[in-house]
Subunit: 70 residues, 2 copies
């Protein structure tokens, strides 16, 4: 499974657990309103800085975004 797919899946799960919409998360993380959707559809490859902003907004350990959970 490509790392981009692993990231997209983990982002979607973490966001659902937080109860935030894509737009709300993008706003909290200081990202373009459509960017979280693009990431979850694997249309973009986020940088470490973006991962950090998302991890802070979701109170989520950044390495978990890149971890493959069975």
């Amino acid at each position: 499974m490509r790392l981009r797919s692993i990231f997209a899946r983990n982002l979607r799960l973490a966001r659902h657990r937080s109860g935030l919409s894509q737009f709300e998360l993008a706003q909290m993380a200081g990202l373009d309103r459509n960017y979280v959707g693009k990431l979850e559809r694997e249309e973009s490859s986020p940088t470490v800085d973006t991962i950090e902003a998302l991890a802070i907004a979701l109170d989520y350990d950044p390495e978990r975004f890149l971890t493959f959970f069975e």
Copy 2:
């Protein structure tokens, strides 16, 4: 510690353990010859795709790049 710093430190450690030079690793990962140096000096924030290429070249679990080791 910023995630970019954690990544830079883990990349440098993994590369030293592999015995590769910055140039050799850049070549194996299909990156610009100077890019590994820029990453290790925290001058650039790598994307998930770049992390994947480096992890494959170093035979290293990608999430470990973003893990803070005491």
